[in-house]
Symmetry: D2
Subunit: 305 residues, 4 copies
Amino acid sequence: MKPIRTDLAMESLDCAAAGELPGVAVSRWNEGGVEVTSVEITENAAAQALGKPRGSYLTLSAPLLRERDPDARLAVSSLLSEELARLLPEDRGTVLVVGLGNRAITPDALGPMAIDRTLATRHMLRGPFARSSLNSVCAVAPGVLGVTGVETLELVEGLVDRVRPSALVCVDSLAARDSARIGTTLQLSDAGIQPGAGVGNRRVPLTRDSLGVPVIAIGMPTVVYAATLARDAFAWLGAEQGDEPSEEELSHMEKALLGAEVGEMIVTPREVDSMVQDAAGIIASAVNRALQPGLSEAEILAMMD
Amino acid sequence: MKPIRTDLAMESLDCAAAGELPGVAVSRWNEGGVEVTSVEITENAAAQALGKPRGSYLTLSAPLLRERDPDARLAVSSLLSEELARLLPEDRGTVLVVGLGNRAITPDALGPMAIDRTLATRHMLRGPFARSSLNSVCAVAPGVLGVTGVETLELVEGLVDRVRPSALVCVDSLAARDSARIGTTLQLSDAGIQPGAGVGNRRVPLTRDSLGVPVIAIGMPTVVYAATLARDAFAWLGAEQGDEPSEEELSHMEKALLGAEVGEMIVTPREVDSMVQDAAGIIASAVNRALQPGLSEAEILAMMD
Amino acid sequence: MKPIRTDLAMESLDCAAAGELPGVAVSRWNEGGVEVTSVEITENAAAQALGKPRGSYLTLSAPLLRERDPDARLAVSSLLSEELARLLPEDRGTVLVVGLGNRAITPDALGPMAIDRTLATRHMLRGPFARSSLNSVCAVAPGVLGVTGVETLELVEGLVDRVRPSALVCVDSLAARDSARIGTTLQLSDAGIQPGAGVGNRRVPLTRDSLGVPVIAIGMPTVVYAATLARDAFAWLGAEQGDEPSEEELSHMEKALLGAEVGEMIVTPREVDSMVQDAAGIIASAVNRALQPGLSEAEILAMMD
Amino acid sequence: MKPIRTDLAMESLDCAAAGELPGVAVSRWNEGGVEVTSVEITENAAAQALGKPRGSYLTLSAPLLRERDPDARLAVSSLLSEELARLLPEDRGTVLVVGLGNRAITPDALGPMAIDRTLATRHMLRGPFARSSLNSVCAVAPGVLGVTGVETLELVEGLVDRVRPSALVCVDSLAARDSARIGTTLQLSDAGIQPGAGVGNRRVPLTRDSLGVPVIAIGMPTVVYAATLARDAFAWLGAEQGDEPSEEELSHMEKALLGAEVGEMIVTPREVDSMVQDAAGIIASAVNRALQPGLSEAEILAMMD
């Protein structure tokens, strides 16, 4: 079994043996130019083998996102919105959107930046001016709040206690194994956020188990770890020279690098700032439309001013 | 009774009749170049007459703060630190520092900016590396309602439930009646934060009553309302011409202006951005020293990096 | 003659005697809900009387801008774009857009914020990928003297020498006399920028005389000086009481306040941050469309990413 | 000859044959815990072999900088200040400090961030309040100025024409070959800035030849290119296995990766934001002390407020 550092279920699967793992259902299709991969992990053994909790993981990929193609942005955002709507509970009540990560570390800022563009409505729904076509939404970025000394889990628990949401939607930066996924692939999952995931090593789980409400996670890879990159470069060179390195050699190399400081460095495109900003816009737009089906996109934008 | 728009107890008092109000004890002194005014409101009748809840209000004034004088900064910060330490509970446990206000509106950004420079330690005190000379501190800037859909009170209640602090320290921007107080006067009080105080019209109280723990408030005026300024200018001109306007005339003018949009405008120095930044530094330094008597200032700075 | 602190020619005129000043042509009309005032100053005597250099001054007013009304924004931006296009030289060459002011002082940040959204194209027009439908535009926000040790005029002169633009377009924050003009009125002029104008007291002229190329100025009031506000409040109260103060009394009051620190304070709406951001967007959109008639708005936005 | 992507002369040298290159003088020593390497390139042939123009290159290394060690910061800053003072012309006149790079791309923001903390004085030296103990300094960050559509060279040429400085000091982000140099090594050179150097691929030279005044460059590596990292990882693994890859194999690998998108990615520590901020502080402090020997550090700080 290979210890691969990735937050994408589809990459965990690629690295696992042959795809015929019992307890995992995989399907792939193309929708409006977006390559979709669905991974359903139903058995505990499979979950352990893949290093991912049971649940459904949907991946939306569009290489043109890196070139900031407007059509690709729209296609991914629409698809994400539809799929997110499917995961939300029927009787909606309030939905709490949480943006994880640290705004001051660019590749970890996806969550806070998505929250900036998420329409929060709960405070508009009280008193005589309540608007019935609005669903109730709270949006918080615990790192943005300048919270220090308080675990994200504590803060979110405190909000869940008071707001009593029907579901949490968490937005987070991810690490991938394949650098081509950076900025081009989004993952939607009903399995919540696990410790150790994300760019900034989240330390506590945000899951239905820890919080008592469904937790839907939306993420995009913004980095690859340097150890992973070196491993892949090495495998690629060997293959090209007809002298493919064994899995043992690769694992040895990756582990050695992970021990060194350089292995912990992150590999990211130079344009990471604009890439994260774009992704935050795509995700926030999808979230807003899924949570406010009664509003047009123009109405949502006008209310966000 | 005159409706004066000020968050400073000493100004409420100046406007009230003659100072011989029963249930109010006032004293003034000078300490290291800082003019100190102590107002103790002990009776409900006095509290109502002044429009301020019962409690102690200490004002520290140093006109040189506006000129960014380093000695004045140091003197005010040291005095504030000592007086704050006196208000904190003996058995400290965790102290929760809350920065009120909206970072995107400069004169309302004092709270969030002070939080940026407050040393939070609670997360360092767990696990094997606990440092015994550190007191436990959390620091949060809950931002504003419109950003999150969550009332500040709900968020703070949630944190109080989980963190179980021995006291809250709230930092907030204030409105004054006299423009000379902007940027030169700090108020320290054990009476908490009342609805309607501050620059941004806080809507809910943060008090010992609402939260179950002592709430200490630290604030500095950053604005005067335009209606107040006009009233004062009018009084000044009349006095100069030997034709002092009656209180009725003044009240009439102020109310008329408050009804108009212009009266709600804020009057503030052009250099409000640097003024708020300076004050945030002074307050954070005082808070850090009061909460961490076991650390030198250099150690505090080194830990904040 | 009354010394009125305003950068709007229409306000200088309002304050001058009776409107029948020789050498000044005034006309007013309404266009798509925008109130337009044109002031043409053709004689030196009139220029001196009004404290404004000879030239044409066009004012566009829409009170709904303060409520962020999308229709009002669009109407003002379209009109501004048309009128700006009329002032630009036929044979365009490169146009240099300059955003005056200090980004760190919110009411003075209009210029730099407009530059952020101005499409600069000159660097795209070189080499094999030159796009013929683009006009050549440079955009700079020289910041402030204290930041760099270089006068804005020196920096702009240096650029004019190298870029050889056919015209300068300067964007700047203004001071008004009437607080109702804050955030609701834009002025377009071919008379350039005079020393002493603006919120931050520009010290050197940016004019055709100083630079050798036409200088078009676009500005919006973001503040009223406190002395002006008090004067107006005083006049208003007197009028209401049937005891209108004389011009002498008003002048006396204003001068006395200007001598005091409080008179130099600025009066501004609480929401100044979003107001300036909105205005920067309106102006940049107008500038982009005037300078790039061959591009649709969507193409302009796509190129700005 | 090996094409190594580095802006550090000492790394170019490490990669070149054996160190006995004629026309290059190298010396190394340790000063106050800082490892200093001096590389003097005196011959054109050596310059070509190393891919660096003739001139002197001084490297200051202190691994503790990455741990934000205050002593290491102080030692590096003091040494840099002394060595910079040695390169400045006797008769100082005005010195122009230029911060290259793009503030919106964190690893490229070193120059603009250093300019934020550089004391500009030229504007204080005019008029009756001229202070004789001050040297004249201008500081500009052309990317910060919001300049677009204008080449940095054009803007700097324009300033040189008007300001007539005796020397330019350029601060820039660098790329290194060895990831251990990121955030730990500063380079000081009298050879100016070459096209292609830096993180953002500067396109035009800033040199004595292009500008007519001495150009001193100060830089720190903030990234390694991914192709370089993979090459090093590969060499390291081979060496460990007793099967050292030939130089040909390594070059082949690096070139292949450079062709691919992944090779152009940057490798950087997760904490790049605070690392760049620290380095900007160290460099600005050294520049300020070298340019203002008549002021104490406290006086410099007070004047920067």
